[in-house]
């Protein structure tokens, strides 16, 4: 279903062949670079779900520093919609994490503006960082299905969604919930698709994700287990699908591409990840209007 992710699957397959036919090995390598000036990182994705809406501020760090990046505290964070409704976000629970005082929800077909004021460069003058994001109307997920399958001697559940894709150039993002809890909220876990290959068609029986079966868990390495969602018969799986902007789609795609460094066969030269934040910060301000479908694992 997903153009990029399904092609990447085949590319992964090809890389698998390379690995079995070469005596490749890995070794640590020490990369010495001049450290870039620190930059403010702003990230947040507000949703149409009634929940505490959240923006995170942190500072960039030298790439191979062994300490976590520092949070940025004491900033003024405001989100405003086009009708003048304003949320003021504060560090109620944790430094550097700015949330709304009460659960709030974004409205569909509405434009939201984020304003962050802080003296990040410590010159005594506050800088202003702004970003805008539009909440798309809801796409109607009809249903979803999980089908058992076997691939390279391992068992998986194939996740299929059923949805009418509207006309025009659209981009989508998906999140999963397992037994009512959101499966890790990390950019590398977000699935994204464009409609380039199935514009204005009814999508059915096309798999866009494989969940590994818990019965095979001892066949996976520990590091892989951390990143996978293993399903057991009877689990309740929910999928949330939202239309997103082309720009945010590219942001997630770029994050996933640059996350692991270079790919000598299928990747291009390293390039910086784009942002929609004005004022010199990195990161993203996004909006999400999810339509849900669910099923039990057979």
């Amino acid at each position: 279903m997903n153009k990029k992710s399904s092609y990447n699957k085949y590319i992964t397959l090809i890389l698998f062949f390379i690995i079995i036919c070469m005596t490749s090995c890995t070794a640590l390598i020490d990369i010495k670079t001049d450290d870039a000036e620190a930059r403010l990182c702003i990230y947040g994705m507000i949703t149409t779900n009634n929940e505490y809406q959240k923006i995170t501020l942190s500072s960039s760090a030298p790439c191979f520093d062994n300490q976590p990046n520092k949070k940025v505290t004491g900033a003024n964070v405001v989100i405003r919609d086009d009708e003048g409704v304003e949320w003021k976000l504060c560090e109620y629970t944790e430094a550097g994490i700015y949330t709304t005082l009460e659960p709030e929800f974004a409205k569909a077909n509405m434009n939201y503006t984020l304003e962050v004021r802080c003296d990040f460069n410590e010159d005594g003058i506050e800088e202003l960082y702004t970003a805008q994001s539009y909440v798309y109307g809801e796409i109607e997920l009809d249903s979803m299905k999980l089908e058992p399958m076997n691939f390279f001697n391992k068992n998986y559940y194939n996740a299929l969604v059923y949805v009418m894709e509207p006309k025009g150039k659209n981009f989508y993002m998906y999140r999963f919930y397992l037994n009512g809890l959101m499966a890790r909220d990390k950019i590398s876990d977000y699935l994204i698709t464009s409609d380039e290959m199935f514009d204005n068609q009814y999508i059915s029986d096309i798999s866009f994700y494989n969940f590994p079966n818990i019965s095979d868990i001892d066949q996976y390495e520990e590091e892989i287990i951390e990143n996978y969602f293993f399903l057991t018969s009877g689990d309740y799986v929910e999928i949330e699908m939202s239309e997103i902007s082309n720009h945010y789609y590219e942001f997630i795609a770029q994050c996933n591409k640059e996350f692991e460094g270079e790919n000598p066969m299928f990747g291009g030269p390293a390039a910086n990840i784009q942002t929609n934040i004005k004022g010199g910060a990195v990161g993203y301000f996004a909006t999400f209007n999810g339509s849900r479908a669910s099923c039990y694992v057979p």
Partner: protein
């Protein structure tokens, strides 16, 4: 196509009629062929030398030679690598056609190894050319025992490998797609097997290779950087013979045989057998993984003046697992008809077809799909050479190529097929050149090539705004010529022979390129597609000036050269940050073009004969690009810029039984973009990068060794065998192939490199009967 055929007929007619206009010539022309007395094989690069006037020449790829001299009596020496010298006396008072038969002492382990035929390096008005014989290529210690043409040329000055162990190469700082690779006159678009580890050329069927590093003969065009001309054996064997080898990766067999008195056949095959081992493993027993090459060539001589060569190549790589399959294949077919009107006037007409395609297939439930792409060329050309006098050695001809690119078709059940439109284009060209011996010391070569390149419908052309977003589209009907570029490509070269043993050469060339590869990764992949110039993409252009000093020592035992070049490129392409190059309808919108510059100095010393022979070379160079939308418009290093390159290839023959070879390569690390910072989102770290190619990878170096043991070097029997033991990367240098950033849950990132090769020993058994 009718117009094309007609234009050839017109060209041919004008040639025949103009032939009668040539006036009498004063010089006497000695010409003929130099051939193997036993097999009848034409010897390319053999030398004939007239002692009295210290003048000589080398035979061309058909074994033909020609010398213009004043009348008189001369002592001559005809020589060729691995053959006994032929000496004698000849009286020249009229034009004479004489063939020389050389007796071979060549066996699997002959003593002498030379590459460039002696003196050619001093006397020919060609700058920046490299020649390797099949034998010389074979001597180079081979990775996993697979003798490889491309790996061999990567040892030459000015030639860089683009990734460790890969078969892409960069010539004088240019991109790998700026090299024209011709295999018996057919273009090879992807010369790699096993995703780049081996090249598609089976050395056993190769006669030799010529690499022109910019000063491409005017007969050829369409690429900026180089021509790699690979020719299969031009055989006319007297008897059946077979050559073969059994190695760890593949086995190969080549047979040559006469078919009657006028026809001969050459058949070669090679297949890898890693999949046979896979079948023995539990995990991978259902997988297939192999490549093969098949070559066939039939040569028929109608008369001593007319010859037809039919050549075919097919090669395929196959990766299959479970219900998945990935394959890619090359097909190249050519038919060459040559006719010699006289010893001074010969012609050939070539029809060739070349195709590269790949396919990915999945039969897995809910993942059923097929994805196919290909590129095909249909080419027809006519070439004429007419040596009238020392002042007029004219070559001319015309060619036409039809390119058909199918960038991708994806079929999946349940949704409509996804197709990137085919891209069709015609490339017509005509050329004329003359080689003029102005004095004993000075020879000039000049020529002009004209090309027209047209995009032909059916096709959709998108327009892009300043942000490279699609703003409009125009659909062109089938057969519509909707865009044409014209190119004039002049080439000029001279040789000024200071003495018998040294010369100065120089050249100025202008080359243009109309098709290019959509690839921006370091190693490239078999799935890279080619795309053509068009309304949005202008042809790439290069102007190159180069020159060199050439010196031979000790009766040509040593050859030394120092060459410099400077290239200026316009419309050179690169790709937008995060460009999507596969299955993209709007590929043109991902292209950014600008200027490029490259310059360098190449020093080479060869020892052609003796127990110890080989070469050492050193290149210092720089290649950079300036493109408005990349790196904020600041000049950056081209991906294949390597400041220093040092290569040694040496062979030492202890005795006819024992032969040792070694190569050592050193190169400055490739330019790269490193992360200079990181930002964090939800516990994951993402890089903030330096300027484009601001840093370099660690320097590259590697030593390869081989030992050839010939049990019975002097046997009278037909069957001869040898063992080759080799070690690739003998001291286990870990050269990075890729650098990744690893982050574990809750941790911070660290850098890790993948290196492809540890110490790789191998053994091969070669035989000949």
């Amino acid at each position: 196509m009718g117009k094309v055929v007609l234009s050839y007929i017109l060209v041919a007619l004008s040639v025949f009629s103009s032939q009668k206009l040539y006036s009498q010539v004063k010089e006497i022309i000695l010409s003929g062929k130099i051939i193997d007395s036993q097999t009848g094989e034409s010897l390319e690069g053999a030398t004939i030398y007239l002692e009295e006037i210290s003048k000589g020449t080398t035979s061309n790829h058909k074994g033909e030679y020609q010398l213009s001299v004043e009348s008189g009596e001369y002592n001559f020496i005809v020589s060729y690598v691995g053959y006994e010298n032929l000496k004698g006396n000849i009286l020249l008072n009229k034009n004479l056609k004489k063939d020389f038969l050389l007796k071979g002492n060549i066996e699997l382990s002959e003593v002498v190894v030379t590459s460039t035929a002696s003196r050619d390096n001093i006397t020919a008005p060609i700058v920046g050319t490299e020649r390797l014989s099949s034998l010389e290529i074979k001597r180079i210690p081979a990775m996993m025992g697979e003798v490889d043409v491309i790996k061999a040329i990567q040892l030459l000055p000015g030639v860089q490998s683009t990734s460790d162990g890969g078969s892409g190469f960069s010539v004088r700082g240019s991109a790998p797609d700026q090299n024209l690779i011709l295999f018996d006159n057919s273009t090879i678009y992807n010369a790699s097997h096993l995703l780049g580890i081996f090249s598609v050329f089976n050395n056993d069927i190769i006669n030799g290779i010529d690499l022109y590093k910019g000063d491409i003969p005017v007969k050829y065009g369409g690429r900026l950087a180089s021509l790699l001309d690979i020719r299969t054996k031009n055989n006319m064997p007297k008897r059946f013979s077979a050559t073969g080898g059994i190695g760890l990766i593949s086995s190969r067999l080549t047979i040559e045989s006469p078919l009657g008195e006028k026809t001969s056949i050459l058949l070669g095959g090679r297949r890898s057998y890693a999949d046979l081992f896979l079948k023995m493993t539990e995990d991978y027993k259902d997988n297939s993984l192999y490549f093969y090459d098949l070559n066939a060539k039939i040569t028929h001589r109608f008369t001593s003046k007319d010859r037809l060569e039919l050549s075919a190549y097919m090669g395929k790589d196959m990766f299959g697992a479970d219900t998945q399959e990935f394959n890619y294949k090359n097909t190249a077919l050519s038919a060459i008809y040559s006719h010699n009107f006289s010893a001074d006037f010969y012609s050939s007409i070539t029809a060739s077809y070349s195709d590269y395609s790949y396919g990915i297939y999945s039969g897995m439930q809910n993942y059923e799909m097929s994805w196919e792409a290909s590129i095909s060329d249909y080419n027809l050309k006519a070439d004429f050479t007419n040596n009238i006098s020392s002042l007029w050695n004219i070559s001319y001809g015309a060619s036409s190529t039809f390119h058909k690119f199918r960038p991708g078709l994806v079929c999946q059940p349940g949704i409509n097929d996804y197709k990137i439109e085919n891209n069709l284009s015609f490339e017509y060209s005509a050329y004329i050149s003359n080689e003029q011996t102005i004095s004993d010391k000075f020879t000039l070569k000049y020529g002009l090539r004209f090309t027209s390149f047209s995009n032909v419908g059916k096709g959709t052309v998108y327009s892009y705004d300043n942000n490279y977003e699609v703003s409009d589209s125009v659909i062109h009907k089938k057969g519509d010529v909707y865009n044409t570029y014209y190119a004039w490509e002049p080439r000029l070269a001279f040789v000024w022979q200071l003495s018998d043993n040294n010369s100065i050469k120089g050249s100025i060339v202008h080359n243009e390129q109309f098709i290019q590869l959509a690839n921006n990764s370091a190693a490239g992949s078999p799935m890279d597609i080619w795309f053509a110039a068009g309304k949005n993409i202008k042809p790439q252009k290069v102007d190159m000036i180069s020159g060199g000093y050439f010196q031979n020592f000790n009766d040509d035992m040593y050859e030394a050269s120092a060459e410099i070049y400077y290239k200026r490129m316009t419309n050179v392409i690169d790709f937008a940050d995060h460009a999507e190059l596969m299955l993209n309808k709007y590929l043109d919108g991902e292209i950014r073009s600008g200027k490029g510059k490259a310059y360098g100095l190449e020093l080479m010393l060869r020892k052609n004969s003796g127990k110890l022979n080989g070469f050492i070379n050193y290149t210092i160079s720089r290649s950079e690009r300036t493109i408005a939308e990349i790196n904020n418009g600041k000049t950056y290093l081209a991906p294949f810029d390597k400041t220093h390159c040092f290569n040694i290839a040496a062979n030492f023959e202890l005795s006819p039984k024992h032969m040792f070879s070694a190569t050592w390569v050193y190169a400055t690390g490739m330019p790269t973009t490193y992360p200079v910072g990181r930002f964090e989102i939800n516990g994951e770290y993402f890089p903030i990068y330096s300027a484009r190619n601001e840093y370099r990878r660690p320097d590259y170096h590697r030593l390869d060794l081989s030992y050839t043991y010939t049990p019975k070097p002097n046997t009278e029997k037909r069957y001869k065998g040898e063992w080759v033991f080799s070690v690739f990367n003998a001291y286990g240098q870990k050269n990075p192939w890729t650098i990744s950033y690893i982050q574990k849950e809750g941790g911070t990132p660290y850098a890790e490199m993948v290196y492809l090769f540890g110490v790789l020993p191998s053994v091969t058994y070669n035989f000949k009967f």
